[in-house]
Amino acid sequence: MPKPTTIIFPSMDVRGAASGGSATSGGGVSIELDSVTKTYPGQDVSAVEDFSMRIEPGELVMFVGPSGCGKTTTMKMVNRIIEPTSGSIRIDGQDVLSLSPDQLRRHIGYVIQQIGLFPHMTIADNIATVPRLLGWSKKETSARVEELLDTVQLDPAVFADRYPRQLSGGQQQRAGVARALAADPPVMLMDEPFGATDPITREKLQAEFLRLQADIGKTIIFVTHDFDEAVRLGDRIAVLSERSQIEQFDTPAAILAAPANDYVASFIGSGAALKRLSLMPVTSADLSFGAPASGGKRPQLDPTATLRDALDLLVVTGAEALEIVDADGTRLGCLTHAAISAALTQSSPTRGAGPAAGEGVHR
């Protein structure tokens, strides 16, 4: 096999092979979809119709919509698992249709819900797949495998030589993410990667994934049907309806505060205010409520908590207010029900406006 050290995307690091760099090198590039349409032969209605979107470098964009709305089809056209009928897709300005699909895919991380680990290969061999396709040396490859196993918190000494079936679902999905990251692709496509895991594992994987993305800053398209997951993970959310029509494309806070239409509102479901609170830090509220009366003892909360956590604590304890105290024990202020409500009202942006005040806490 030839040793393709070609740089597929222009602004990618000159890193044909693992330059011994960390898992955190690379970063993302932009993705632009322009009037992309997919019509399957023999069908009158397009699966995806006239889809246009620009995704900024390092952005994590969530495609949310019901089953069959075309969100997965849209995503799979980016790495040409599905070929678009018309329109253009550019990654870092480079038209993907002008590249060989196999070469293209070696530079795009791909994670699917069923994980798709190769059952007859060890975890190490699975992760080494793309580096080997790219002709990395043995030494570089095995160093990279070890590094990635650490990154996804699987002990290399324990897991490298295991076979997929010897791993739990959560561990398998971590290995799947490690495999997708192996050649440090600037772009990742993730198709409901945590969909098949139990709620506890899912939450853990989501938290780990957010931490990881904060480090690596890939450009990610993440498909899910779970709106709460979209709110939790996404920089921006595209709410899609049939034929992959974009109903709203905005930050989670903006969508929660001002759904563009009834369709989006119905997708958000009940508890929009609570979901918004989970995106706001306690410090975004008015903390100037008076100090406790002498002798009064109030529940304490860390300033890194969200307003939703605060509300939860208020309801559980029945207290009139919470003390916000940081890790050093410094008192930052005091939070009441009224302050939480006020924070919510203040942050309501006008429809379609940019990021709401106090948005983007969870990063």
Partner: protein, 256 residues
């Protein structure tokens, strides 16, 4: 392909004693069968016709012919049916797949004696004809298992492989064939054992083998000849199945 493997992972753990018993059962049965036949032969008086057949030289020749015929048939089948299966699989055509399987099924349903004798009538008698008939006859299990094995590879595994930038050939060689190999090997094993049994018919078209003993024994009413011939065929079939089973176990990709 797989370089980073540790020796103690992925081994089947059926329990040591069970495994040993399974490995030794077939040769034991054959040994007992052979011993009983030998003792029985020594206890009876053989006439001149029987003596002409039941001696080492004659037996070795017949066994050699029989093995040559069935093993080369199985080897040819492997060389032809596996690539055929792969090609049909790669066309992704359900129609072609259906047609081929239907044709192969018809071939399978035709009685072996009929195939051998018809072929001898329209062509010629002898080893080559017997070989062709045997190949045609044991083609199906390997073809069918190759198709089934490849079709049974999890679509998600295939999609992951494609999504990572493997070419179609790489997907076939590194993912599909290894994953389908247990099923394909099982088909080969079936067709091999098949071939050993059906090769007895070769005697009808003058292609030798242990069928000679069975047919002569019957015709001349020399039961010792008949019985030794039958016992040899049975023993060979069991032993070959046993060896094939060991190969199958050994060649199965670890991690499955």
């Amino acid at each position: 392909m797989s370089t980073l493997t540790s020796p103690d992972v992925g081994r089947r753990t059926t329990g040591r004693r069970g495994a040993v018993a399974r490995v030794l059962a077939a040769p034991l049965v054959v040994a007992v069968l052979g011993l009983v036949t030998l003792l029985w032969l020594q206890s009876i008086e053989l006439d001149s016709i029987e003596k002409r057949t039941l001696n080492t030289d004659y037996l070795v020749d017949r066994v050699r012919e029989h093995l040559l015929l069935s093993l080369s048939a199985a080897a040819l089948v492997a060389l032809l049916a596996i690539p055929a299966g792969v090609l049909i699989h790669r066309t992704n055509s359900r129609v072609l797949r259906g047609v081929v399987l239907a044709l192969a099924n018809i071939g399978q349903a035709t009685p072996a004696v009929g195939v051998v004798i018809l072929l001898a009538i329209v062509w010629r008698t002898g080893f080559t004809t017997a070989l062709v008939a045997l190949v045609a006859y044991s083609f199906l299990p390997v073809l069918r298992n190759t198709l089934t094995g490849l079709a049974e590879v999890d679509p998600a595994t295939r999609e992951a492989a494609r999504g990572m930038g493997m070419t179609r050939t790489q997907v076939l060689r590194r993912i599909e064939l290894p994953l389908a190999s247990p099923v394909i090997l099982a088909g080969l094993r079936t067709s091999l054992v098949f071939a050993v049994g059906v090769a007895t018919i070769a005697t009808f078209i003058n292609a030798g083998g242990l069928g000679d003993m069975i047919v002569n024994g019957l015709k001349l009413q020399r039961y010792p000849v008949l019985i030794v011939g039958a016992a040899l065929v049975a023993g060979i079939a069991i032993l070959i199945d046993w060896v094939a089973g060991l190969v199958e176990e050994y060649a199965r990709p670890r991690g499955l």
